[in-house]
Amino acid sequence: MSQKPKQKKSVARSIIFAVGAVLALSYVMPFFLVFVNSFKPKPEILANPLAFPIVFTWDNFNQALQKMNYFQSLTNSIIITTFSVIALIIVSSMLAYYLARSNSKFTKGIFLVLVASMIVPFQALMIPFMSIFAPLVSLDNRTALIFFYIGFGVSLSTFLYHGFISNIPKELDEAASIDGATDLTIFWRIIFPMLRPVTATVAIINALWIWNDFLLPRLVLTPDTQTLPLSTYLFYGQYSAEYGQAMAGLLLAVLPIITFYLILQRQFISGISSGAVK
């Protein structure tokens, strides 16, 4: 009698596990396809896209590295993402601190506008955007892009920081202020270090967005400043008939972020889950 429910439970559990395993495999299958085929010459890919390579070749990678300007695009992606994310962390944490601490009608209004702006799709302002900022873009498109990311990212980041800072007792600031610390010192020395968990969330959410963004870079960047998604797209468009090279290019495109994810997996998941529930 007592055996039965337990048995039933373990059967249920194995079924769940089986379903989960099949699903998990199907989730990574496309990447597996890319991986396997990137080492094959073209005829072999056509003959059987699922098989492991018989003739193992690095040539696809040599070609792809060169044709998609891999290292240049990678550097551009890293520079643009790093600077935008750091800038966003600095300005939005400070703005959120200001908004959370001075509770006037004015600051409440600003906060409301920031939150409301999050449902404005970029497409709604893309056309005037390009004509307004053409001169700035032609001056230095990478710096311009970082500037744009600050403008588009500041609302969500501020929102995330705001929720967290509201829970830090005000007495903390007051005590420090009595000790003679200035506002900036209070913020950077006392408050900002306490924001570490949100800072991780803000960094991850923004980094994923900016690293993978396509539309804005497509409008703003030129061939020598293009980021990885752009160069991958252009490369694939040109060489999609060269299956092996195209696959090598795709593998190279996904490699940096997947590596990064596998190293920082826990931070990714917890960062996203705490960011999402806000």
Partner: protein, 289 residues
Amino acid sequence: MQFGKHLKKFIFFAALPLAIFAIVLVYPFIQGLILTFTNFDGFEATKFVGWDNYVKSFQDPTFWSTLQFTGAFVVVSLVAINVVAFGLALIVTSKLRSSNILRTFFFVPNLIGGVVLGVIWQFIFNSALTSLATKFGWNSMTESWLNETGSAFWALIIVTVWQSSGYMMIIYITGIISIEQDVLEAARIDGAGALRTLVSVKMPLMAQAFTISLFLTLRGGFMAYDVNVALTGGGPFRTTELISMHIFEDAFRLGNFGTGQAKAVIMFLLVAIAALVQVSVSKRMEVQR
């Protein structure tokens, strides 16, 4: 004195980000609203033309078919993503020893941008599947899914679900974990089965997770662009263009900046109305529990 102190604090802490926000987002947005009533040609607007651009937009038959296609895409992807994501969350939280690995796998597509994903799947639909179908004689699959509007729609849905369900899964996992064990214990003692507990206890208690996930998928559906461009490119014959891509093509490829911007404003209104309705309905359900 007091005001001076406030002003100083405002300048140090808030002036810069607010200025950038206003320049990058608010100003072009307002400008965009005004431009829809002018004869804007991409460089300058010389005169006001009233509602012309909106009238022309609604007279454009491709815009209507885009709206239909987008509507279908938003509804189907919203339902599919959330059903799949909720299912994945249930699997991952069912206390399997392998749940961490499963979660890692499910989340991977989300790390990668829509363009790269779209291109990967283009290879799968156009080359991998067709060559496998030819080899094994699956006659219904030898033609690429992307060559025909109906199947290309489902291809878009598959890729979108695959991409976004991992993210929404995280939201649902957070919701499931936040449910207190006592409540579940109480349900069990009262004799509720697994399904009953899920529907009557767990789901109402995690209503907030549904609100968030539905909002994000709704917005994502309207704004979808990357996968669209990379997977179908709008083809065959502009029949699989979602609204984002339609606006981009209208303005930057065909040079119709006036109608392009009018359509963009229409898109904004659709997103805003849909999001407001969804959030207020979901919020009401949260309260009712």
